[in-house]
């Protein structure tokens, strides 16, 4: 074919420039290093990825997908995970242009190595007389054989593989082989040529049946014996059998061997319903392939979450989501009790639900290590063959590596890893140690999976209770989860982001301090939780939130950011709290005194209408037309006889009943609704209603306990002190948005600690000082609270107390001090009570300025606050004006209210703009959670989260 001009190559950057070209249909990568040019194949030999997208450094190109490295001069695969070299092509520069010849290999300045083949050791003819035996035919065995030769071992290598195939790796079996885009041959890691070049005595179809460590003899399944100087046990693992009736039916598959893969591929190609038992990585990858082949897939996982053993809950949630987005029905917490024949298909009997029919069943519930041989030989077993960092077992000259070996890990956790990378690296260090070069296996564990069109990679060994920072998807790639134990980085999980894994490898190996990590990740990131949980997936996903959200180990004294920022948590709150068994404030009776009066309101984010009907009863129902969902009531308040949806004039009476449907019977005998349509079945959803002291509450739970029981005695007492039977008179409204999580408002009023510090005004004029008589009252459940204090004279502030109050300023005096006068009109020892009634009401009794505040949440990061300020019927003009003047303290422009709103915005900003972390809630350790008799306490916040976690089911 001869020389082909490559245009533009000479304009590549001199420092590690790379470009992709196509020459006669071949994908070629052209590299420039100073004035030298190199051309290689552009496709990684591991899995399909273009090398020109990778990183070039130190004369190597690193594949962007799994970080396999190739020498760009020789094409040589530089180790894990790549084993096969890439082709190289000759280059020349003429007249300032680069030419490449595909027919010629690159000529090397030093021709010591030949790119495409294993290096035959020059000394192999002169054996040193030793014999090393390798048991096993997988990745670890093949890698060890190569590793022995690389370490210049010249003795005999006997490789005993129990399958008839040449040694092969398993990752393609659950991916390309199932899809038919690769054959099992392509998974071979030690081909005939390599066996010959490396002088390996390969004995396929045999297994070891006995190991005598005294005589150093192995008995094989054909009764022959082999003596050894050293032996490496790399016998791997076998699928864990499914211990239920019917597991042996022909429709039931497992996936471990090449044979398994071929048989499963045939089954999947037939399409139909596939049931996968086990939501680990094998199950997920098979699910991915089955979906691609057009099968309907149901994945059954007995645990509460996917990949429970291998993956941090936060990452598992992501997998759950992408599997569902790809059309897999994921059912966690589901056990299969039996499989029965059912015509040509099988029926899976499930523990808690209807049976499931399937054409094909795949079992992937983990593996058991093949360590019986070692066990019988008296070698120490700990869930696998226990080895040290060098692969040495408890018996002399016996080594083990790969799936079968249990490895000390960092801090001697004794882990048995089942990854390709572990097989490779552990086998390599064992082989080198066998050959006399002691090499410890202490690389950072690394794992990858490809499923549903996504690449997932994990570094390190994080634990489920680790805390995490999330870097959201960006143009560099998908989401990255950095896991840490509070002090140091323990692992990284990245989705479609190989660049992040590449960068993090060294950080994980050094167990980077969290503060340093933050510095490295300083690029502003919205670490505020996963915003990509699609609404339709949330509900299914959140069946068991405890499986996906792990509370910090420090318990009540910490609140993780995701509580305030995660959209899935917010959705859960709407379902379980606002739409659950709670009494929600919706309005005041004074707003709807007459029949036909109504107001628009909300329960949680959900719009409702509050109306008074002809019988004087109060009704609360959804502001949603039964016909086309229109929010039919548009006015803030008013009076009418019925509600008419403006779209098609469907009509609702004051009780919320669907009372009129235009053209219900059609026109001229044609059209209209079916004759059996019953209008009364289609009224908007009605809520339970209760009132107390002129305040109206509603609940989606029609069996709610009485309000008095819901509030508990202490809170009821304080509630009644404010709403003491006098008729309320509405004085007006404030409405504002607040860019913070709705719970922050509760917390602000369960946090008396902030009052003397944030609110200089309050302190300057003696309304609240650290020495005031005060109490932070909680109900038994921890959900409600009252922050109560009694006004004192600023002149009485002791010197000691004033020192504690940063804000105290004896110089400041009001020109119109009557604004702060307190007319004692309540039967209460408190001049101020701020009541938080779960989940959406604040009752403000700030001396004589009174109001209720309704929280209307709008996603995790914002809520609307509706303030209704009131006085009492019969107030004199002067009394009312006093309330209005004192009202300058509160509301979004009030001296106190404005500061609270600002501070809460700052808190949310901190979580949104900085890296994710935790809040420290440690004040007042003597009260774990509940009522506190000191202002310097956060015990009420702890009480609220104790309750919140119980309600949401988050450990």
């Amino acid at each position: 074919m001869g020389w082909t001009l490559v245009e533009g190559a000479t304009e590549l950057p001199a420092d590690h420039g790379v470009m992709a070209v196509s020459i006669s249909g071949e994908r070629v990568a052209v590299f420039r290093v100073q004035d030298e040019y190199f051309a290689t194949g552009n496709v990684c030999t591991h899995q399909f990825a273009l090398l020109n997208d990778g990183f070039v450094e130190d004369g190597c190109v690193e594949c962007p997908l799994h970080q396999g490295r190739f020498d760009i001069r020789t094409g040589k695969a530089m180790g894990s995970p790549v084993t096969e070299d890439i082709p190289t092509y000759a280059t020349k520069v003429e007249d300032g242009q680069l030419y490449v010849d595909l027919d010629r290999q690159a000529e090397l300045a030093d021709t010591q190595s030949v790119a495409l083949e294993d290096k035959p050791s020059a000394d192999l003819e002169k054996s040193d007389g030793r014999r090393f035996v390798i048991l096993g035919g997988g990745q670890a065995a093949a890698c060890a054989a190569r590793g022995l030769r690389d370490a210049n071992f010249t003795g005999e290598i006997v490789l005993i593989a129990d399958e008839l195939e040449l040694p092969y790796e398993r990752p393609p079996l659950s991916k390309d082989v199932l899809l038919g885009t690769a054959s099992t041959q392509e998974a071979t890691v030690l081909d005939r040529q390599a066996v010959e070049t490396l002088k390996i005595d390969l004995r396929c179809g045999l297994s070891a049946v006995q190991l005598n460590t005294g005589t150093r003899t192995i008995t094989l399944s054909d009764q022959s014996t082999v003596e050894y100087d050293s032996v490496l046990i790399a016998t791997g693992a076998r699928p864990r059998p499914l211990p239920i009736p019917g597991a042996d039916l022909p429709q039931v598959h497992e996936l471990r061997t090449g044979e398994d893969a071929i048989s499963l591929k045939r089954a999947l190609k037939r399409g139909g319903q596939v049931a996968i038992i086990g939501g680990g990585f094998i199950g997920m990858e098979v699910a991915s392939a089955a979906r691609k082949l057009g099968c309907e897939v149901t994945l059954l996982e007995a645990e509460g979450r996917l990949c429970a053993r291998a993956l941090h809950p936060r990452a598992a949630r992501y997998l759950h989501e992408i599997a569902e987005a790809s059309g897999v029905e994921v059912r966690t917490g589901t056990r299969v009790s039996a499989i029965e024949p059912h015509g040509s298909v099988v029926q899976l009997n499930l523990a808690d639900s209807e049976p499931l029919l399937a054409d094909t069943v795949v079992v992937g519930i983990g593996v058991v290590p093949n360590c019986e041989l070692a066990e019988a030989a008296g070698i120490t077993i700990r869930n696998g063959i226990l080895v040290d960092r060098f692969g040495r077992t408890s018996a002399n000259n016996v080594f083990a590596a790969g799936d079968v070996a249990t490895w000390p890990g960092s801090n001697n956790a004794q882990l048995r890893l089942e990854s390709w990378h572990n097989a490779q690296e552990q086998a390599l260090s064992a082989a080198k140690t066998m050959a006399g070069i002691e090499t410890a296996y202490d690389t950072v564990p690394w794992f990858w999976s490809d499923q549903f069109g996504h690449n997932i990679q994990m570094l390190g060994l994080p634990t489920p209770s680790d805390e995490f920072y999330v870097q959201p998807a960006s143009q560099d790639g998908g989401e990255v989860i950095y896991l840490h134990d509070g002090e140091r980085l323990s692992g990284v999980v990245a989705f479609d982001n190989t660049a992040a894994i590449r960068k993090a490898r060294i950080w994980v190996s050094q167990r980077l301090e969290v503060s340093t990590l933050l510095g490295f990740l300083k690029t502003a990131s919205d670490s505020a939780g996963d915003t990509r949980v699609s609404p339709e997936n949330r509900r299914k996903l959140m069946n068991n939130p405890a499986q996906y959200y792990v509370w910090p180990e420090k318990g009540l004294r910490r609140i993780p950011d995701w509580v305030y920022t995660d959209p899935a948590i917010y959705q859960l709150e709407v379902d379980k709290i606002f739409h659950g068994s709670t009494w929600n404030y919706v309005g005041l009776e004074a707003e709807i005194p007459e029949a036909g009066d109504f107001i628009r309101s909300n329960v949680g984010p959900t719009p409702v209408v509050v109306s008074r009907d002809e019988d004087g009863e109060i009704n609360v129902f959804l502001n949603r037309c039964s016909h086309r969902a229109a929010e039919f009531c548009r006015e803030l308040r008013g009076n009418n006889k019925e509600f008419v949806c403006p779209y098609h004039q469907w009509t609702y009476d004051l009780k919320g009943n669907l009372s009129g449907i235009p053209f219900r019977r059609g026109v001229g005998g044609k059209g209209g609704l079916p004759s059996n349509f019953i209008a009364s079945d289609h009224s908007p959803q009605k809520l339970a209603v209760t009132t107390r002291g002129g305040v109206i509450f509603a609940s989606f739970d029609l069996n709610m306990e009485p309000l008095e029981d819901y509030l508990g005695p202490r809170i009821t007492e304080e509630f009644d002190a404010t709403f003491n039977g006098r008729k309320l008179k509405v004085l007006g409204y404030y409405r504002n948005t607040l860019p913070g999580n709705w719970k922050l408002y509760h917390e602000n009023l369960k946090d008396p600690y902030h009052a003397t510090l944030l609110h200089t005004f309050l302190v300057s004029f003696g309304l609240l000082v650290a020495g005031n008589e005060a109490e932070m009252i909680c109900d038994e459940t921890g959900r409600h609270g009252v922050m109560a204090s009694a006004k004192s004279d600023a002149g009485k502030v002791s010197e000691e107390d004033s020192k504690e109050m940063r804000a105290y300023n004896a110089e400041l005096k009001l020109k119109a001090p009557e604004m702060l006068d307190f007319e004692d009109e309540f039967d209460s020892r408190w001049s101020v009570t701020m009541m938080t009634l779960w989940p959406n009401l604040i009752v403000q009794r700030e001396m004589n300025t009174l109001g209720v505040r309704q929280i209307v949440p709008n996603g995790p990061n914002e809520f609307v606050m509706n303030w209704t300020m009131f006085g009492f019927e019969g107030d004199t003009d002067e009394q009312q004006r006093h309330r209005l003047r004192q009202g300058n303290l509160m509301g979004p422009a009030g001296f106190l209210g404005m500061e609270d709103n600002e501070a809460m915005k700052f808190v949310q900003d901190g979580m949104k703009h900085s890296l994710a972390g935790e809040h420290l809630i440690e004040m007042d350790p003597n009260t774990e959670a509940g009522t506190a008799d000191t202002l310097i306490s956060e015990a009420a916040i702890r009480a609220m989260y104790k309750y919140w976690r119980k309600e949401l089911g988050i450990g």
């Binding site: 409204y733 409405r735 500061e899």
Partner: protein
């Protein structure tokens, strides 16, 4: 809209124009003081017995008296100036007032009843854009004090009922 001078011509018309211009000039100086953060100067635009209320159109239309800010008498304005300048905690921000469509409604004795539309923009330090913080109208009663025009009452009635988080400075 002019009740007393519907013809709006001759000497009366000229006097009307002069008054309108005086009020417009007053508003320019009023806004300048606020935009520059001179809050004690701002208080001086009012009479000693003034009323100053910022209230939503919702409340105003319903005859409900509650205001985001509710001040009776200049001392309350001065207290608010002190609170904002000395004690309040809030994120730094710039506000800018735009006042248009000023008109004189009618005169009643010494009092001039007039009005304007206003637009208040707010810039926070962490966002590139100015937000329309309030849009509304002033409903005013002016008097002359020693020849100087002063506000006896200013009601700032805002249309956008849902306030963005907080209102720090006067309108």
């Amino acid at each position: 809209m002019l009740k007393e001078n519907e013809a709006n011509q001759g000497e009366a018309g000229i006097a009307e124009d002069t008054l309108l211009r005086t009020i417009e000039k007053f508003n320019v100086e009023y806004c300048l003081a606020l935009d520059e953060g001179r809050l004690y100067d701002w208080a001086n635009f009012f009479t000693q017995d003034c009323r100053y209320i910022i209230l939503s159109r919702e409340n105003f239309d319903a005859g409900l008296p509650v205001g985001l800010v509710y001040c009776e008498g200049r001392p309350m304005l001065e207290d608010r100036a002190t609170a904002i300048l000395e004690t309040s905690m809030f994120a730094p921000r710039y506000l800018r007032h735009f006042v248009t469509n000023t008109f004189v409604h009618y005169k009643e004795g010494d009092e001039i009843h007039s009005g304007s539309n206003y637009l208040l923009t707010q810039v926070l330090m962490d966002k590139p854009n100015a937000t329309m913080h309030q849009i509304g109208r002033y409903v005013d009663r002016f008097v002359h004090e020693e020849g100087v025009l002063k506000l006896k009452e200013r009601q700032c009635i805002y249309d956008n009922l849902l306030l963005e988080n907080s209102l720090v400075y006067p309108v």
